[in-house]
Protein backbone atom coordinates (compact mmCIF):
# COMPACT_ATOMS: atom_id res chain seq x y z
CA UNK A 1 0.00 0.00 0.00
CA UNK A 2 2.85 2.29 1.00
CA UNK A 3 4.42 1.83 -2.43
CA UNK A 4 1.16 2.69 -4.19
CA UNK A 5 0.93 5.97 -2.27
CA UNK A 6 4.57 6.75 -3.00
CA UNK A 7 3.93 6.11 -6.68
CA UNK A 8 0.87 8.34 -6.54
CA UNK A 9 2.94 11.17 -5.04
CA UNK A 10 5.56 10.80 -7.77
CA UNK A 11 3.00 10.57 -10.58
CA UNK A 12 4.17 11.99 -13.91
CA UNK A 13 2.59 15.39 -14.42
CA UNK A 14 1.82 14.49 -18.03
CA UNK A 15 -0.77 12.02 -16.72
CA UNK A 16 -2.43 14.87 -14.82
CA UNK A 17 -2.31 17.00 -17.98
CA UNK A 18 -3.92 14.19 -19.96
CA UNK A 19 -6.72 13.69 -17.42
CA UNK A 20 -7.47 17.42 -17.39
CA UNK A 21 -7.40 17.53 -21.20
CA UNK A 22 -9.92 14.66 -21.38
CA UNK A 23 -12.06 16.20 -18.62
CA UNK A 24 -12.19 19.46 -20.55
CA UNK A 25 -12.68 18.10 -24.05
CA UNK A 26 -14.95 15.04 -23.76
CA UNK A 27 -17.95 16.84 -22.13
CA UNK A 28 -18.10 19.27 -25.10
CA UNK A 29 -19.01 16.37 -27.43
CA UNK A 30 -21.42 14.64 -25.06
CA UNK A 31 -24.06 17.36 -25.28
CA UNK A 32 -24.90 17.13 -21.58
CA UNK A 33 -27.55 19.63 -20.51
CA UNK A 34 -27.06 21.31 -17.17
CA UNK A 35 -29.25 23.58 -15.13
CA UNK A 36 -27.66 26.93 -14.30
CA UNK A 37 -28.93 28.73 -11.19
CA UNK A 38 -28.91 32.52 -11.47
CA UNK A 39 -27.16 34.15 -8.51
CA UNK A 40 -28.10 37.50 -6.97
CA UNK A 41 -25.03 39.20 -8.49
CA UNK A 42 -26.14 38.43 -12.05
CA UNK A 43 -29.81 39.10 -11.29
CA UNK A 44 -28.87 42.60 -10.06
CA UNK A 45 -27.07 43.23 -13.36
CA UNK A 46 -30.02 41.97 -15.38
CA UNK A 47 -32.47 44.07 -13.33
CA UNK A 48 -30.27 47.14 -13.96
CA UNK A 49 -30.14 46.73 -17.75
CA UNK A 50 -33.75 45.61 -18.08
CA UNK A 51 -34.93 48.73 -16.25
CA UNK A 52 -33.27 51.01 -18.84
CA UNK A 53 -35.82 52.66 -21.14
CA UNK A 54 -35.70 51.88 -24.86
CA UNK A 55 -33.13 54.06 -26.66
CA UNK A 56 -30.89 54.40 -23.59
CA UNK A 57 -27.20 54.73 -24.28
CA UNK A 58 -24.75 52.31 -22.69
CA UNK A 59 -21.00 52.52 -22.65
CA UNK A 60 -19.40 49.10 -23.17
CA UNK A 61 -15.82 49.19 -21.88
CA UNK A 62 -13.97 46.13 -23.16
CA UNK A 63 -10.87 45.86 -21.00
CA UNK A 64 -9.60 42.40 -21.86
CA UNK A 65 -7.61 40.44 -24.41
CA UNK A 66 -7.96 37.03 -26.11
CA UNK A 67 -6.46 35.32 -23.05
CA UNK A 68 -9.71 35.95 -21.18
CA UNK A 69 -11.93 35.27 -24.17
CA UNK A 70 -13.54 32.02 -22.91
CA UNK A 71 -14.88 33.84 -19.86
CA UNK A 72 -15.58 37.35 -21.12
CA UNK A 73 -16.47 36.92 -24.79
CA UNK A 74 -19.75 35.07 -24.02
CA UNK A 75 -20.66 37.98 -21.71
CA UNK A 76 -19.95 40.48 -24.50
CA UNK A 77 -22.01 38.47 -26.99
CA UNK A 78 -24.95 38.03 -24.58
CA UNK A 79 -24.79 41.71 -23.64
CA UNK A 80 -24.73 42.96 -27.26
CA UNK A 81 -27.51 40.57 -28.24
CA UNK A 82 -29.67 41.79 -25.37
CA UNK A 83 -28.96 45.47 -26.15
CA UNK A 84 -29.91 45.02 -29.82
CA UNK A 85 -33.07 43.06 -29.01
CA UNK A 86 -34.18 45.69 -26.53
CA UNK A 87 -33.27 48.77 -28.57
CA UNK A 88 -30.51 49.86 -26.23
CA UNK A 89 -27.78 51.77 -28.03
CA UNK A 90 -24.15 51.23 -27.11
CA UNK A 91 -20.76 52.90 -27.46
CA UNK A 92 -17.74 50.59 -27.34
CA UNK A 93 -14.39 51.71 -25.96
CA UNK A 94 -11.32 49.94 -24.58
CA UNK A 95 -8.64 50.77 -22.04
CA UNK A 96 -6.87 47.63 -23.28
CA UNK A 97 -5.64 47.74 -26.90
CA UNK A 98 -7.27 44.41 -27.79
CA UNK A 99 -10.65 45.23 -26.16
CA UNK A 100 -12.35 47.04 -29.08
CA UNK A 101 -11.23 44.27 -31.47
CA UNK A 102 -12.75 41.68 -29.14
CA UNK A 103 -15.99 43.70 -29.30
CA UNK A 104 -15.84 43.62 -33.13
CA UNK A 105 -15.34 39.87 -32.94
CA UNK A 106 -18.37 39.50 -30.66
CA UNK A 107 -20.55 41.60 -33.00
CA UNK A 108 -19.50 39.55 -36.05
CA UNK A 109 -20.23 36.40 -34.05
CA UNK A 110 -23.80 37.36 -33.03
CA UNK A 111 -24.73 38.66 -36.48
CA UNK A 112 -27.22 36.21 -38.00
CA UNK A 113 -27.42 37.62 -41.54
CA UNK A 114 -26.05 35.34 -44.24
CA UNK A 115 -25.77 37.99 -46.99
CA UNK A 116 -22.54 39.93 -47.25
CA UNK A 117 -24.03 43.40 -47.83
CA UNK A 118 -27.08 45.40 -48.86
CA UNK A 119 -27.39 48.78 -50.56
CA UNK A 120 -29.67 51.18 -48.72
CA UNK A 121 -30.26 54.75 -49.97
CA UNK A 122 -27.02 54.58 -51.95
CA UNK A 123 -24.97 53.34 -48.94
CA UNK A 124 -23.38 49.89 -48.97
CA UNK A 125 -23.98 48.29 -45.59
CA UNK A 126 -21.91 45.23 -44.67
CA UNK A 127 -23.50 42.69 -42.33
CA UNK A 128 -21.46 42.09 -39.20
CA UNK A 129 -19.89 45.54 -39.29
CA UNK A 130 -22.33 48.21 -40.52
CA UNK A 131 -25.44 46.22 -39.74
CA UNK A 132 -25.90 43.60 -37.03
CA UNK A 133 -28.90 41.33 -37.36
CA UNK A 134 -30.20 39.47 -34.30
CA UNK A 135 -33.47 37.71 -35.10
CA UNK A 136 -35.94 40.32 -36.26
CA UNK A 137 -33.88 43.14 -34.70
CA UNK A 138 -31.07 45.12 -36.26
CA UNK A 139 -28.46 47.60 -35.09
CA UNK A 140 -26.79 50.04 -37.46
CA UNK A 141 -23.28 51.41 -37.03
CA UNK A 142 -23.23 55.06 -36.05
CA UNK A 143 -26.89 55.10 -35.11
CA UNK A 144 -27.39 52.21 -32.70
CA UNK A 145 -23.78 51.46 -31.89
CA UNK A 146 -20.30 52.78 -32.50
CA UNK A 147 -16.79 51.58 -31.69
CA UNK A 148 -14.48 54.36 -30.49
CA UNK A 149 -11.46 52.08 -30.11
CA UNK A 150 -8.60 52.08 -27.63
CA UNK A 151 -7.11 55.02 -25.78
CA UNK A 152 -3.88 54.87 -23.79
CA UNK A 153 -3.84 56.42 -20.32
CA UNK A 154 -5.64 53.91 -18.08
CA UNK A 155 -7.85 55.51 -15.41
CA UNK A 156 -6.95 59.01 -16.58
CA UNK A 157 -8.93 58.28 -19.77
CA UNK A 158 -12.01 57.71 -17.56
CA UNK A 159 -11.28 60.93 -15.71
CA UNK A 160 -10.90 62.81 -19.01
CA UNK A 161 -14.20 61.42 -20.29
CA UNK A 162 -15.78 62.85 -17.16
CA UNK A 163 -15.39 66.33 -18.61
CA UNK A 164 -15.26 65.56 -22.35
CA UNK A 165 -15.66 62.31 -24.28
CA UNK A 166 -14.36 63.96 -27.43
CA UNK A 167 -11.13 64.92 -25.69
CA UNK A 168 -10.46 61.25 -24.94
CA UNK A 169 -11.83 59.77 -28.18
CA UNK A 170 -11.67 62.19 -31.08
CA UNK A 171 -12.62 59.71 -33.82
CA UNK A 172 -14.10 56.22 -34.14
CA UNK A 173 -12.24 52.97 -34.76
CA UNK A 174 -13.85 51.88 -38.04
CA UNK A 175 -14.18 54.95 -40.20
CA UNK A 176 -11.89 57.43 -38.48
CA UNK A 177 -14.70 59.99 -38.48
CA UNK A 178 -15.00 62.65 -35.75
CA UNK A 179 -17.33 61.23 -33.09
CA UNK A 180 -19.76 64.17 -33.20
CA UNK A 181 -20.74 63.12 -36.75
CA UNK A 182 -22.42 59.97 -35.47
CA UNK A 183 -26.09 60.05 -34.61
CA UNK A 184 -25.58 57.98 -31.46
CA UNK A 185 -23.12 60.53 -30.05
CA UNK A 186 -25.59 63.41 -30.28
CA UNK A 187 -25.91 64.87 -26.78
CA UNK A 188 -23.23 62.58 -25.40
CA UNK A 189 -20.64 65.04 -24.23
CA UNK A 190 -19.39 63.61 -20.98
CA UNK A 191 -19.40 60.36 -19.07
CA UNK A 192 -22.42 61.30 -16.94
CA UNK A 193 -24.54 61.53 -20.13
CA UNK A 194 -24.46 57.74 -20.38
CA UNK A 195 -27.30 55.80 -18.78
CA UNK A 196 -25.18 52.80 -17.86
CA UNK A 197 -21.65 51.40 -18.12
CA UNK A 198 -21.07 47.75 -18.93
CA UNK A 199 -17.48 46.89 -18.13
CA UNK A 200 -15.81 43.65 -19.16
CA UNK A 201 -12.57 43.41 -17.26
CA UNK A 202 -9.63 41.04 -16.95
CA UNK A 203 -7.36 43.14 -14.72
CA UNK A 204 -5.84 46.61 -14.63
CA UNK A 205 -7.23 48.98 -15.81
CA UNK A 206 -10.68 47.57 -15.30
CA UNK A 207 -13.66 47.37 -13.00
CA UNK A 208 -11.87 48.80 -9.95
CA UNK A 209 -10.94 51.94 -11.93
CA UNK A 210 -14.42 52.29 -13.47
CA UNK A 211 -15.97 52.14 -9.98
CA UNK A 212 -13.48 54.57 -8.47
CA UNK A 213 -13.73 57.14 -11.25
CA UNK A 214 -16.93 56.70 -13.27
CA UNK A 215 -19.25 55.54 -10.47
CA UNK A 216 -17.92 57.44 -7.46
CA UNK A 217 -16.83 60.60 -9.24
CA UNK A 218 -19.30 60.98 -12.12
CA UNK A 219 -22.22 58.97 -10.69
CA UNK A 220 -22.87 56.63 -13.63
CA UNK A 221 -24.28 53.19 -12.80
CA UNK A 222 -21.89 50.40 -13.74
CA UNK A 223 -22.31 46.65 -14.06
CA UNK A 224 -19.34 44.40 -14.65
CA UNK A 225 -18.24 41.08 -16.04
CA UNK A 226 -14.95 39.84 -14.62
CA UNK A 227 -12.68 36.86 -14.96
CA UNK A 228 -13.08 34.34 -12.14
CA UNK A 229 -9.66 35.35 -10.82
CA UNK A 230 -10.54 39.05 -10.62
CA UNK A 231 -14.14 38.77 -9.40
CA UNK A 232 -13.34 38.27 -5.67
CA UNK A 233 -11.50 41.62 -5.66
CA UNK A 234 -14.58 43.58 -6.72
CA UNK A 235 -17.13 41.88 -4.45
CA UNK A 236 -16.82 44.70 -1.86
CA UNK A 237 -18.09 47.16 -4.50
CA UNK A 238 -21.11 44.96 -5.13
CA UNK A 239 -21.85 44.72 -1.42
CA UNK A 240 -21.66 48.52 -1.03
CA UNK A 241 -23.96 49.12 -4.01
CA UNK A 242 -21.26 50.86 -6.05
CA UNK A 243 -21.47 48.09 -8.63
CA UNK A 244 -24.82 47.33 -10.29
CA UNK A 245 -24.30 43.63 -10.77
CA UNK A 246 -21.34 41.35 -11.29
CA UNK A 247 -20.72 38.33 -13.47
CA UNK A 248 -17.76 36.28 -12.35
CA UNK A 249 -16.02 33.95 -14.79
CA UNK A 250 -17.65 31.41 -17.05
CA UNK A 251 -20.33 30.69 -14.46
CA UNK A 252 -21.35 34.35 -14.51
CA UNK A 253 -21.40 34.26 -18.33
CA UNK A 254 -23.59 31.14 -18.29
CA UNK A 255 -25.95 32.80 -15.81
CA UNK A 256 -26.18 35.87 -18.05
CA UNK A 257 -27.01 33.62 -21.01
CA UNK A 258 -29.78 32.04 -18.97
CA UNK A 259 -31.22 35.30 -17.73
CA UNK A 260 -31.28 36.93 -21.19
CA UNK A 261 -32.80 33.74 -22.62
CA UNK A 262 -30.13 32.68 -25.09
CA UNK A 263 -28.01 29.74 -23.96
CA UNK A 264 -24.76 29.68 -25.93
CA UNK A 265 -21.02 29.07 -25.51
CA UNK A 266 -20.70 29.68 -21.76
CA UNK A 267 -23.51 27.24 -20.91
CA UNK A 268 -21.86 24.62 -23.10
CA UNK A 269 -18.40 25.23 -21.62
CA UNK A 270 -19.74 25.03 -18.06
CA UNK A 271 -19.98 21.24 -18.47
CA UNK A 272 -16.26 21.11 -19.20
CA UNK A 273 -15.45 23.49 -16.36
CA UNK A 274 -17.53 21.40 -13.95
CA UNK A 275 -15.68 18.23 -14.99
CA UNK A 276 -12.31 19.98 -14.62
CA UNK A 277 -13.25 21.28 -11.14
CA UNK A 278 -14.28 17.78 -10.04
CA UNK A 279 -11.00 16.30 -11.25
CA UNK A 280 -8.90 19.04 -9.63
CA UNK A 281 -10.70 18.36 -6.33
CA UNK A 282 -10.12 14.62 -6.75
CA UNK A 283 -6.44 15.27 -7.42
CA UNK A 284 -6.17 17.34 -4.23
CA UNK A 285 -7.94 14.66 -2.18
CA UNK A 286 -5.77 11.85 -3.62
CA UNK A 287 -2.63 13.97 -3.16
CA UNK A 288 -3.49 14.61 0.49
CA UNK A 289 -4.36 10.97 1.24
CA UNK A 290 -1.08 9.84 -0.32
CA UNK A 291 0.85 12.56 1.50
CA UNK A 292 -0.52 11.68 4.94
CA UNK A 293 -0.25 7.93 4.35
CA UNK A 294 3.42 8.13 3.39
CA UNK A 295 4.25 10.78 5.99
CA UNK A 296 2.79 8.62 8.78
CA UNK A 297 4.79 5.57 7.72
CA UNK A 298 8.06 7.42 7.28
CA UNK A 299 7.51 9.09 10.67
CA UNK A 300 7.18 5.68 12.38
CA UNK A 301 10.20 4.39 10.52
CA UNK A 302 12.25 7.36 11.52
Amino acid sequence: MQRIFEKLLAIDRRIIFLVIFLALSIPIFLGIKINIKVTDEVQIFYDAISSLPSGSRIMVACDYDPGSEPELQPMAESGFRYFIQNNLRFVIIGLWPQGPMQANKALVSINEAKDEFIVENGDTLYFGTDLIVVGPDTARYGIDFVNLGFQAGNELVIQRMGSSIKAAFASDLRLGKPIEEFDIMRGLNQLSDFDFIFNLSAGYPGTVEWVQFAVDRFHVACGAGNTAVQAPQVYPYLDSGQLSGLMGGMKGAAELEKVVGHKAKATMFMVSQTAAHIFVILFIVIGNIAYFATRGKSGRKG
Partner: protein, 219 residues
Protein backbone atom coordinates in the same frame (compact mmCIF):
# COMPACT_ATOMS: atom_id res chain seq x y z
CA UNK B 1 17.79 72.69 -11.14
CA UNK B 2 18.13 69.20 -12.59
CA UNK B 3 16.38 67.82 -9.51
CA UNK B 4 14.30 70.82 -8.47
CA UNK B 5 12.30 71.13 -11.73
CA UNK B 6 11.03 67.50 -11.69
CA UNK B 7 10.19 67.89 -7.98
CA UNK B 8 8.20 71.09 -8.65
CA UNK B 9 6.42 69.50 -11.62
CA UNK B 10 5.49 66.44 -9.54
CA UNK B 11 4.21 68.59 -6.68
CA UNK B 12 2.12 70.83 -8.97
CA UNK B 13 0.58 67.94 -10.94
CA UNK B 14 -0.03 65.82 -7.83
CA UNK B 15 -1.62 68.62 -5.83
CA UNK B 16 -3.76 69.67 -8.81
CA UNK B 17 -5.21 66.17 -9.14
CA UNK B 18 -5.88 65.93 -5.39
CA UNK B 19 -7.51 69.35 -5.03
CA UNK B 20 -9.55 69.26 -8.26
CA UNK B 21 -11.24 66.06 -7.00
CA UNK B 22 -12.93 68.25 -4.38
CA UNK B 23 -12.96 71.56 -6.31
CA UNK B 24 -13.48 70.67 -9.98
CA UNK B 25 -13.84 74.31 -11.11
CA UNK B 26 -11.65 76.57 -13.26
CA UNK B 27 -8.63 76.70 -13.27
CA UNK B 28 -8.09 73.40 -11.40
CA UNK B 29 -10.49 71.39 -13.58
CA UNK B 30 -8.87 72.81 -16.71
CA UNK B 31 -5.38 71.99 -15.41
CA UNK B 32 -6.39 68.42 -14.50
CA UNK B 33 -7.84 67.91 -18.00
CA UNK B 34 -4.66 69.26 -19.55
CA UNK B 35 -2.47 66.98 -17.43
CA UNK B 36 -4.71 64.01 -18.32
CA UNK B 37 -4.20 64.77 -22.02
CA UNK B 38 -0.45 64.97 -21.49
CA UNK B 39 -0.54 61.66 -19.67
CA UNK B 40 -2.38 60.01 -22.59
CA UNK B 41 0.21 61.37 -25.04
CA UNK B 42 3.09 60.12 -22.88
CA UNK B 43 1.37 56.72 -22.46
CA UNK B 44 0.89 56.42 -26.23
CA UNK B 45 4.58 57.29 -26.80
CA UNK B 46 5.53 54.73 -24.14
CA UNK B 47 3.79 52.01 -26.19
CA UNK B 48 6.02 52.89 -29.15
CA UNK B 49 9.04 53.05 -26.89
CA UNK B 50 8.20 49.57 -25.56
CA UNK B 51 7.82 48.17 -29.07
CA UNK B 52 11.11 49.68 -30.24
CA UNK B 53 12.86 48.46 -27.09
CA UNK B 54 11.60 44.93 -27.74
CA UNK B 55 12.97 45.19 -31.27
CA UNK B 56 16.33 46.47 -30.01
CA UNK B 57 16.69 43.69 -27.40
CA UNK B 58 15.74 41.03 -29.96
CA UNK B 59 18.19 42.38 -32.55
CA UNK B 60 20.93 42.45 -29.89
CA UNK B 61 20.28 38.78 -29.11
CA UNK B 62 20.70 37.86 -32.77
CA UNK B 63 23.81 40.03 -33.16
CA UNK B 64 25.45 38.49 -30.07
CA UNK B 65 24.41 34.98 -31.16
CA UNK B 66 22.59 34.39 -27.88
CA UNK B 67 21.37 30.81 -27.27
CA UNK B 68 17.76 32.11 -27.38
CA UNK B 69 18.25 33.93 -30.68
CA UNK B 70 15.72 31.67 -32.44
CA UNK B 71 12.96 33.17 -30.29
CA UNK B 72 14.27 36.66 -31.06
CA UNK B 73 13.98 35.91 -34.80
CA UNK B 74 10.37 34.76 -34.30
CA UNK B 75 9.63 37.93 -32.29
CA UNK B 76 11.06 40.22 -34.97
CA UNK B 77 9.29 38.45 -37.83
CA UNK B 78 5.96 38.53 -35.95
CA UNK B 79 6.47 42.17 -35.05
CA UNK B 80 7.26 43.22 -38.61
CA UNK B 81 4.48 41.08 -40.05
CA UNK B 82 1.75 42.68 -37.95
CA UNK B 83 3.15 46.21 -38.37
CA UNK B 84 3.39 45.84 -42.17
CA UNK B 85 -0.08 44.25 -42.34
CA UNK B 86 -1.51 47.13 -40.31
CA UNK B 87 0.23 49.95 -42.16
CA UNK B 88 0.30 48.77 -45.76
CA UNK B 89 -2.30 46.05 -46.36
CA UNK B 90 -5.57 47.44 -45.03
CA UNK B 91 -7.02 48.20 -48.47
CA UNK B 92 -7.68 51.84 -47.73
CA UNK B 93 -9.65 51.01 -44.59
CA UNK B 94 -8.74 51.46 -40.92
CA UNK B 95 -6.40 48.64 -39.95
CA UNK B 96 -8.58 47.26 -37.12
CA UNK B 97 -11.72 47.02 -39.21
CA UNK B 98 -13.12 43.48 -39.67
CA UNK B 99 -11.87 42.00 -42.94
CA UNK B 100 -8.44 43.66 -43.08
CA UNK B 101 -5.24 41.61 -43.08
CA UNK B 102 -4.43 42.95 -39.59
CA UNK B 103 -7.83 41.71 -38.39
CA UNK B 104 -7.19 38.34 -40.07
CA UNK B 105 -3.88 37.99 -38.22
CA UNK B 106 -5.52 39.08 -34.97
CA UNK B 107 -8.42 36.59 -35.27
CA UNK B 108 -6.49 33.64 -36.70
CA UNK B 109 -3.01 33.94 -35.19
CA UNK B 110 -2.75 36.29 -32.21
CA UNK B 111 -6.08 35.38 -30.64
CA UNK B 112 -5.63 31.56 -30.62
CA UNK B 113 -1.98 31.86 -29.50
CA UNK B 114 -2.87 34.21 -26.66
CA UNK B 115 -5.82 32.05 -25.58
CA UNK B 116 -3.63 28.95 -25.70
CA UNK B 117 -1.03 30.50 -23.41
CA UNK B 118 -3.73 31.36 -20.89
CA UNK B 119 -5.49 27.99 -21.25
CA UNK B 120 -2.28 26.16 -20.34
CA UNK B 121 -2.75 27.56 -16.83
CA UNK B 122 -5.52 25.02 -16.24
CA UNK B 123 -3.04 22.17 -16.66
CA UNK B 124 -0.40 23.75 -14.45
CA UNK B 125 -2.98 24.63 -11.77
CA UNK B 126 -4.18 21.00 -11.72
CA UNK B 127 -0.63 19.69 -11.46
CA UNK B 128 0.40 22.23 -8.82
CA UNK B 129 -2.72 21.64 -6.72
CA UNK B 130 -2.00 17.90 -6.73
CA UNK B 131 1.54 18.42 -5.49
CA UNK B 132 1.34 21.48 -3.28
CA UNK B 133 -2.17 21.86 -1.87
CA UNK B 134 -1.75 20.00 1.42
CA UNK B 135 -3.66 20.19 4.70
CA UNK B 136 -0.42 20.55 6.66
CA UNK B 137 -1.89 22.64 9.50
CA UNK B 138 -5.16 24.21 10.68
CA UNK B 139 -4.88 27.29 8.43
CA UNK B 140 -4.08 25.23 5.34
CA UNK B 141 -6.99 22.90 6.13
CA UNK B 142 -9.43 25.82 6.41
CA UNK B 143 -8.12 27.20 3.11
CA UNK B 144 -8.47 23.79 1.50
CA UNK B 145 -12.07 23.34 2.70
CA UNK B 146 -13.03 26.85 1.59
CA UNK B 147 -11.48 26.17 -1.82
CA UNK B 148 -13.45 22.91 -2.11
CA UNK B 149 -16.74 24.59 -1.26
CA UNK B 150 -16.16 27.52 -3.65
CA UNK B 151 -14.90 25.32 -6.49
CA UNK B 152 -17.83 22.91 -6.24
CA UNK B 153 -20.29 25.67 -5.38
CA UNK B 154 -19.46 27.51 -8.59
CA UNK B 155 -20.59 24.57 -10.72
CA UNK B 156 -24.03 23.03 -11.34
CA UNK B 157 -22.58 19.80 -9.88
CA UNK B 158 -23.00 21.33 -6.41
CA UNK B 159 -26.79 21.13 -6.61
CA UNK B 160 -26.64 17.45 -7.49
CA UNK B 161 -24.15 16.80 -4.68
CA UNK B 162 -26.29 18.75 -2.18
CA UNK B 163 -29.22 16.55 -3.16
CA UNK B 164 -27.21 13.36 -2.66
CA UNK B 165 -26.29 14.42 0.88
CA UNK B 166 -29.83 15.76 1.59
CA UNK B 167 -28.44 19.15 2.57
CA UNK B 168 -31.25 21.43 3.81
CA UNK B 169 -32.25 24.63 1.98
CA UNK B 170 -29.80 27.43 2.80
CA UNK B 171 -27.05 24.94 3.62
CA UNK B 172 -26.54 23.67 0.11
CA UNK B 173 -23.01 23.86 -1.27
CA UNK B 174 -23.84 26.74 -3.62
CA UNK B 175 -25.26 28.70 -0.63
CA UNK B 176 -22.14 28.01 1.41
CA UNK B 177 -20.03 29.12 -1.56
CA UNK B 178 -22.00 32.38 -1.74
CA UNK B 179 -21.55 32.91 2.02
CA UNK B 180 -17.78 32.49 1.66
CA UNK B 181 -17.65 34.89 -1.31
CA UNK B 182 -20.05 37.52 0.06
CA UNK B 183 -18.91 37.63 3.70
CA UNK B 184 -15.48 36.14 4.37
CA UNK B 185 -14.07 37.19 0.99
CA UNK B 186 -15.57 40.69 1.17
CA UNK B 187 -14.21 41.22 4.70
CA UNK B 188 -10.74 40.10 3.64
CA UNK B 189 -10.78 42.11 0.42
CA UNK B 190 -11.92 45.24 2.28
CA UNK B 191 -9.04 44.92 4.71
CA UNK B 192 -6.61 44.52 1.82
CA UNK B 193 -8.13 47.47 -0.07
CA UNK B 194 -8.02 49.76 2.96
CA UNK B 195 -4.42 48.74 3.64
CA UNK B 196 -3.39 49.35 0.02
CA UNK B 197 -5.21 52.70 -0.04
CA UNK B 198 -3.49 53.91 3.13
CA UNK B 199 -0.15 52.84 1.69
CA UNK B 200 -0.90 54.60 -1.60
CA UNK B 201 -1.92 57.81 0.16
CA UNK B 202 1.23 57.91 2.27
CA UNK B 203 3.46 57.10 -0.73
CA UNK B 204 1.69 59.71 -2.88
CA UNK B 205 2.12 62.34 -0.18
CA UNK B 206 5.80 61.51 0.14
CA UNK B 207 6.24 61.84 -3.65
CA UNK B 208 4.21 65.07 -3.89
CA UNK B 209 6.04 66.67 -0.97
CA UNK B 210 9.42 65.64 -2.40
CA UNK B 211 10.34 63.33 0.50
CA UNK B 212 10.40 60.25 -1.73
CA UNK B 213 12.82 60.92 -4.60
CA UNK B 214 13.85 57.46 -5.78
CA UNK B 215 11.85 57.91 -9.00
CA UNK B 216 14.39 60.57 -9.99
CA UNK B 217 17.09 57.92 -10.06
CA UNK B 218 18.91 59.15 -6.97
CA UNK B 219 18.71 58.03 -3.34
Amino acid sequence: MKREIPLILTAVVGLTFVVQFFVPHYPLGFMADMFSDWFSIIAACAIWLGALNLLKISLNKIYKKDKDRFYAVVTIISFLLIVIAGFFFSGGRRFQEPGTSFDWLYINVYSPLSATMFAMLAFYVASASYRAFRARNAQATILLLAAFVVMIGRTPFSDWLSGVFFLPEGWQISNLSNIIMNFFNVAGQRAIMIGISLGLISTALRVILGIERTYLGGD
